[in-house]
Amino acid sequence: MCAQPVTNTKEARWQKVLYERQPFPDNYVDQRFLEELRKNVYARKYQYWAVVFESSVVIQQLCSVCVFVVIWWYMDEGLLAPHWLFGTGLASSLIGYVLFDLIDGGEGRKKSGRTRWADLKSALVFITFTYGFSPVLKTLTESVSTDTIYAMSVFMLLGHLIFFDYGANAAIVSSTLSLNMAIFASVCLASRLPRSLHAFVMVTFAIQIFALWPMLQKKLKACTPHSYVGVTLLFAFSALGGLLSISAVGAILFALLLVSISCLCPFYLIRLQLFKENIHGPWDEAEIKEDLSRFLS
């Protein structure tokens, strides 16, 4: 099926154009076939310790969930007085609040333009609503069986860990959803506590550890990485200790989990990078580099 006899294919050189009839069959394969094929154009090289450092965010979140559960267990057992927890929580959050402004000399506050009055207002809202709702929370789930509640809260906390914003830009990340799930779980668990004061304290604590603490972490990580690492280690060890006081097995498992996440996973990530094979060529859909929003805003 040649357009012309095969003899003169020698002198005529094949070109990659469609607009002129060439003395080659339609299914002719030139040696320049696939020459524009590229591989792993956008592949990135990772540094081991950098990856470990990044993974500390996950560690933090795991630890905060663990701490929360431990505290709840203590209160459920009645080993921990709500007043004491409330006091410590209040103190620690005040300290955190002061730190939050000290770290970056308050330009973060300037940027957001949020006044202290607004902070005070939202704090008051928290306190009043939680206090007002605590009796309702108390009677909310009494007819629901405890296992259901546990299952629900475990599910919710897992969701919180999954959807949390670890700094990766993926589709499923939604900090709102993760926070809401955490609050939902805390309410479920709080409704199991003996008295309404307990419930109140539990929910406030949940807010502190799930909403306020990550903010502070982010800022720490941004400004003073070293202290951040220190805080992370401290936090992790405290969580482990708390867990240890409940069950040794749990503590060991948790420790293994932490180690694997912080050390093994980065190692594997870097190993698997070698096998990456990503094909690129002229057929790829070109993506627009510059942002076009400036024309619209």
Partner: protein, 630 residues
């Protein structure tokens, strides 16, 4: 006698058995040229020869020889024979008669040709005489229809005289004989009615589609059929005779009497309607109640129907007449049924028993409801309900039921009298009684309705709150401008409060949902009963009984069209068809003549109904009449 003559005609056609006689008998004055052989292409051999159609009334099949009187429809090239003029006659008188008929009925009735019916041995003279007639009544084509003694073989030829001057140069045409029953065609009414030409415009406009034209001609030339067989007119015609005169006298009497009666009744009805239209009833709460009570609807509907029936104006077209008749019959049937019901009720004092039965029944229902509520306030079917909310709702509803029972007991002494009057109302018709029954049911189940409304509102509130909070939970919000869900960043405290409320609502939902479910089921039960009653009422209201009866007893009155039967046929003879009326199928009768009902039927489909139920919107019985007097 018309009937008799028609009977013989049927026999005369001899359509039944195929007796093949040897070819055309020599008796025929001039044998028709035999049509071409089967195989050959008819178009070519016949040339421009047009097939003429001669519509011949079966009742004239046995008439003596004479002249064919009828109408020639050029556009279908068909001749509609209406009657036969017997010998002897004086041509002038025939022409006069035709002129009278023509100006009476605006139909171009002319002499189409000759008709000879040989009972005994053929005599040559008659044939020639008939030939000669063509010269007197000149018409082209000139039909010569002839029936043999054996009454099976007919011969017909149509000649186009090129003027009387040269009778030799006459072209022959293929003729097709179509027998039709004059009476049926006269009385039948085509569906869908063809565009009938108005009387003034005359027969020039009678160019409605082929068969419609034939029907129209026959229908309009009634004037021809007025003359009875016995009155000694100058001209003796034979055609379909209307039945005996006595019956017609009765009819005349009825017609004569109808006018004043209608007038009287119309006056009465106008009085009633005026009374009902009095301003007192138009005040707000009353008018609202009227609009909600099915009884009033039904009465209003009946009133309209009666006024329409007894309006002294004449029905313009047969459809309106049919409609009136249908209404009349349905009203009659309705009242008859109602009277039967009444008699049945008043025999051995059923009313009293009912009244005695009613109160206990209402009490019993209330008891059952109380039990139901007790059950709900426990742990029904092991469901996880919130105890506090459960108690609150339960008490609330129990209090309602208590109120209800006291109300019933308050009105218990009057029940019997009320029922008595209700029973009397049955003489206005069964439908009225039924709608009153449905109203009573609605009144007696008012508490269920209240429960339903409370439950539905509560549930609806919860559902909407939950849906919006669920969006907040996912960090989304409903954008009103773009009508879609956008993502938005909430403040911390907004999130917290939203989630708190969300949790609370989620855990409280099952309780509300259960109450809602139970009461919705009760409500649906009541609504279904009411719906059934309303359907029955609508059925009685809308059934076109008169048309159905007509279709049953006189199938030819309502014609969907015609159908043809090929009569036993032999070569060399004109093709003979029998045209019969194709009666309207019952489904189409129903569809065409069903009367408009007063009630509007359910607009929402099942899907939308389920949606409404799920989202806790209020549903109403079939006629948007759920909320009685609130």
């Amino acid at each position: 006698m018309g009937l008799v003559s028609r009977g013989t005609a049927e026999a005369g056609l001899g359509a039944a058995s195929a007796v093949d006689r040897p070819g055309p008998p020599d008796a025929v004055p001039d044998p028709i040229p035999t049509p071409p052989a089967e195989g050959a292409d008819p178009g070519s051999s016949r040339g421009p020869g047009m097939v003429l159609k001669a519509y011949f009334p079966t009742c004239c099949a046995s008439a003596d020889s004479g002249l064919l009187v009828g109408r020639w429809v050029p556009e279908q090239s068909s001749a509609v024979v209406l009657a036969v003029v017997h010998f002897p006659f004086i041509p002038i008188q025939v022409k006069e008669l035709l002129a009278q008929v023509q100006q009476a009925s605006q139909v171009g009735v002319t002499v189409l040709g000759t008709w000879c019916h040989r009972r005994q041995e053929p005599e040559e003279s008659l044939g020639h005489f008939l030939e000669g007639l063509g010269a007197i009544f000149s018409h082209k084509p000139w039909f010569q229809l002839c029936r043999e003694r054996g009454s099976k073989s007919w011969s017909c030829k149509a000649t186009r005289w090129q003027g009387p001057a040269s009778p030799a140069a006459s072209g022959e045409d293929q003729v097709m004989l179509i027998f039709y029953d004059q009476r049926k065609v006269l009385l039948s009414q085509l569906h869908p009615p063809a565009a009938l030409p108005d009387r003034q415009a005359g027969d020039t406009t009678a160019s409605a589609g082929g068969l419609a034209a034939v029907f129209d001609t026959v229908a309009r030339s009634e004037a021809l059929f007025q003359s009875d067989r016995f009155d000694e007119g100058p001209v003796r015609l034979s055609h379909w005779q209307s039945e005996g005169v006595e019956a017609s006298i009765l009819v005349e009497l009825a017609k004569w009497a109808a006018g004043p009666v209608c007038l009287l009744l119309a006056c009465l009805l106008s009085l009633v309607s005026a009374a009902s239209a009095c301003r007192v009833f138009k005040l707000w709460p009353l008018s609202f109640i009227w609009s909600k009570l099915s009884t009033c609807e039904q009465l209003r509907h009946r009133l309209e129907q009666l006024t329409l029936i007894f309006s002294t104006r004449k029905a313009k077209n047969p459809a309106q007449l049919m409609r009136k008749a249908n209404m009349f019959v349905s009203v009659l049937l309705d009242v008859a049924l109602g009277l039967m019901l009444l008699s049945w009720l008043h025999r051995k004092d059923l009313i009293g028993q009912l009244a005695d039965a009613l109160i206990p029944v209402a009490d019993h229902v209330a008891e059952e409801l109380q039990h139901l509520l007790q059950w709900l306030m426990g742990a029904p079917a092991g469901l996880k309900m919130n105890r506090a909310l459960d108690q609150v709702l339960g008490r609330f509803f129990l209090y309602h039921i208590h109120l209800w029972i006291s109300y019933i007991h308050l009105m218990s002494p009057f029940i019997e009298r009320i029922l008595w009057h209700v029973g009397l109302s049955a003489c206005l018709g069964l439908t009225v009684a039924l709608s009153i029954l449905s109203d009573i049911i609605a009144l007696l189940t008012f508490h269920i309705y209240c429960f339903y409304v409370y439950g539905a509102r509560l549930y609806c509130l919860k559902i909407h709150g939950l849906s919006s909070l669920w969006r907040l939970f996912r960090g989304k919000k409903w954008n009103v401008l773009r009508q879609r869900v956008d993502s938005c960043s909430y403040d911390l405290d907004e999130l917290f409060i939203g989630t708190l409320l969300f949790t609370v609502l989620v855990f409280l939902l099952p309780t509300t949902a259960l109450y809602y479910l139970v009461f919705t089921l009760l409500r649906l039960l009541v609504v279904t009963v009411q719906g059934l009653i309303h359907l029955l009422v609508d059925l009685i209201n809308s059934l076109p009984l008169y048309s159905l009866g007509l279709r049953l007893c006189r199938p030819y009155r309502l014609a969907a069209g015609v159908k043809f039967r090929v009569l036993e046929h032999e070569t060399g003879r004109p093709l003979r068809l029998l045209m019969q009326i194709n009666p309207l199928p019952y489904s189409r009768v129903m569809h065409t003549y069903r009367l408009p009902t007063c009630g509007c039927h359910p607009q929402h489909s099942w899907g939308s109904l389920c949606r409404k139920l799920f989202f806790g919107e209020l549903i109403y019985p079939w006629r948007q009449r759920g909320d009685k007097q609130d």
